[in-house]
């Protein structure tokens, strides 16, 4: 492998937030730095749902960037999380996606950990028949996987390795916290889990999530079948630090719409033969039909009509990532509402009418920029600002992503 194309500490970044150099999606040095500064840095990372670990001893395996993590419900009822790596030789401590137990045993040499990841015993510590064993000065409390700080908010479990991460509410900001609590307001129930491996750098997906400009242009389902348009009310809300965003679309406006005249999305005349799945109820007692919310670096909450999901972004090298989808409803869903959700799940996910393109478009960029080391992307829709906007015809929240990313990366 040749040398990295640049030294990050002195790397030249174009002025302002409207240009992003393409090497950020391709450089292994950047990816390594991201693991240290973002994923193990002072940011909060979505780990799992609180209902994934309802009872003492329940655990779930997850990741924080590339770092494998175990989340468990400890004896005192609190949720704990620690690196899924045995302090002895580095093997995974927990080999299943989820389960229940009293403690964790590494299969390799049977080192045993409690539900908080504290090392409790070492096999053959005192040797066999008086021979072998660990040195007398071996201290179990000096060994163990790295432990995370954990916070539980609205049924979501977030973690961080850093003591410097601000309180979760301050990290997200009051406006987006309100948007988060708007959706996650009662007990959840998982109704499906899927993973979508994407052929792109993880940042391309998060930019796409925050990009309110592309939605009705790339995803033509709503416009083709005349269900929704960009000229409907709504907007995008961005936290001051760029960490969180929420974009909203309000229920349909009346009257003609010519904002797409002559464009590819201006495809009049198609109608669904079974429009029943687009019947939705305003379950949050407002007129917000669609809300996409993100928290830097890798969390997305989706409300598309009554199709609800959380998405976890997991980097898998510079040009690959996994998108973990958890579809959910509420524990008290009526059969009618649940049936509605199941039908509307067609909208999102790997086969979603309004999301399947997002699975591919990051890969189109990743392939398109293969030789663009010296080039930048242009992120100027809506100006140069990165704040809240009353229109979705803006890239303000993409610029806000870069504001947050650069703050963490020290660039």
């Amino acid at each position: 492998m040749d040398q990295s194309v640049r030294d990050l500490s002195t790397g030249v970044w174009p002025a302002g937030l409207t240009r992003v150099p393409y090497w950020v999606y391709r450089d292994p040095e950047v990816a390594r730095d991201e693991q240290a500064r973002v994923f193990e840095g002072p940011a909060w990372h979505y780990l799992c749902l609180e209902i994934d670990v309802p009872d003492i001893g329940d655990y779930r395996a997850t990741t924080m960037g590339t770092m494998p993590v175990v989340v468990s419900r400890a004896e005192d009822g609190e949720i704990a999380a620690f690196e899924n790596r045995c302090a002895h030789r580095g093997a995974l401590i927990c080999l299943d996606d989820a389960g229940k137990g009293k403690d964790f045993h590494c299969v390799y040499h049977a080192w045993r950990y409690d539900l908080r990841g504290n090392l409790k015993s070492v096999a053959f510590r005192h040797g066999v028949n008086g021979k072998g064993g660990m040195p007398d000065d071996f201290k179990m409390e000096a060994h163990g996987p790295r432990k995370l700080r954990v916070t539980v908010e609205s049924g979501l479990v977030f973690g961080t390795l850093s003591d410097d991460a601000p309180a979760f509410e301050d990290y997200v900001g009051p406006e987006i916290m309100t948007r988060l609590r708007r959706v996650l307001h009662k007990k959840l129930e998982v109704i499906g889990r899927f993973t979508q491996p994407l052929p792109c750098n993880w940042k391309l997906y998060m930019e796409n999530v925050r990009d309110t400009y592309h939605a009705s242009l790339l995803h033509m389902f709503f416009t083709t079948f005349r269900i929704t348009r960009l000229s409907q009310g709504g907007g995008v809300m961005v936290s001051e630090n760029g960490i969180a965003h929420a974009s909203t679309t309000l229920a349909a406006a009346k009257g003609p719409d010519d904002s797409y005249a002559g464009m590819r999305a201006d495809n009049q005349g198609f109608q669904l033969t079974d429009p029943s799945f687009m019947t939705s109820v305003a379950e949050f007692n407002d007129d917000i039909q669609l809300q996409i919310l993100s928290i830097f670096p890798g969390f997305v909450l989706q409300q598309i009509h009554n199709a609800l999901a959380v998405r976890q972004i997991v980097p898998r090298g510079v040009d690959k990532m996994d998108l973990n989808w958890t579809y959910f409803g509420f524990a008290d869903d009526t059969p009618e509402l649940r049936a509605m959700r199941l039908k509307q799940c067609n909208l999102a996910g790997p086969a979603g009418f309004v999301s399947m393109e997002d699975g591919a478009v990051g890969g189109f960029v990743q392939r398109g920029i293969a030789a663009a080391e010296q080039e930048n992307s242009v992120i100027e829709m809506g100006g140069a600002g990165s704040g809240t906007s009353e229109t979705r015809a803006t890239e303000a929240s993409v610029r806000a992503f870069w504001k947050a990313w650069r703050a963490h990366m020290g660039l």
Partner: protein
């Protein structure tokens, strides 16, 4: 009823349905289903846990027609094709002449530039019934994929 005939007829329907998808005759695909039907793509893990949601979920043939119309008119995806390889149907007679059918499948996906991958392996869990004209049709097709991973996107149905 002659069991060998039933096996032959249902295997032939499976083959015809897969051929319609693989040959991009998607408009013919909903015709293999009853008007009131259930078509769902899920995973072995979700299925075992009783999770209800699918990545595609249709409870009418009209929803399958709409899926095809969306693929033709609205959705953007890179040119690709499937090759379905089907196993022998395992058939259990149910009440009222309905049959429960389990058929293993493998789908190789070939992308525009020639990249070939095992896209999905799994099993179709079908309920089939004859229609008014006596032809077998799917009343239910639960596509249970062995893996929970769906690479890039799933546009063309399984």
């Amino acid at each position: 009823m002659n069991g060998a005939n039933v096996l032959f007829e249902i295997a032939a329907m499976n083959a015809a349905c897969a051929a319609a998808i693989d040959a991009d005759r998607l408009e013919a695909w909903p015709g293999f289903f009853h008007e009131a039907c259930l078509y769902k793509i899920t995973t072995a893990d979700n299925f075992a846990k009783g999770y209800q949601a699918g990545i595609i979920y249709a409870d009418t043939r009209a929803m399958l027609d709409d899926r095809v119309a969306a693929l033709r008119q609205a959705n953007i995806y890179e040119r690709q094709r499937y090759r379905h390889i089907l196993g022998m149907p395992l058939i259990t007679a149910g009440p009222d002449g309905a049959m429960s059918v389990e058929t293993s499948f493998l789908v190789i996906r070939t992308m525009r530039e020639g990249q070939m991958d095992v896209f999905v392996a799994g099993v179709y869990l079908d309920k089939v019934r004859r229609d008014a004209a006596g032809a077998w049709r799917y009343a239910e097709r639960i596509v249970v994929c062995d893996s929970q991973r769906f690479d890039t996107l799933l546009a063309i149905p399984l």
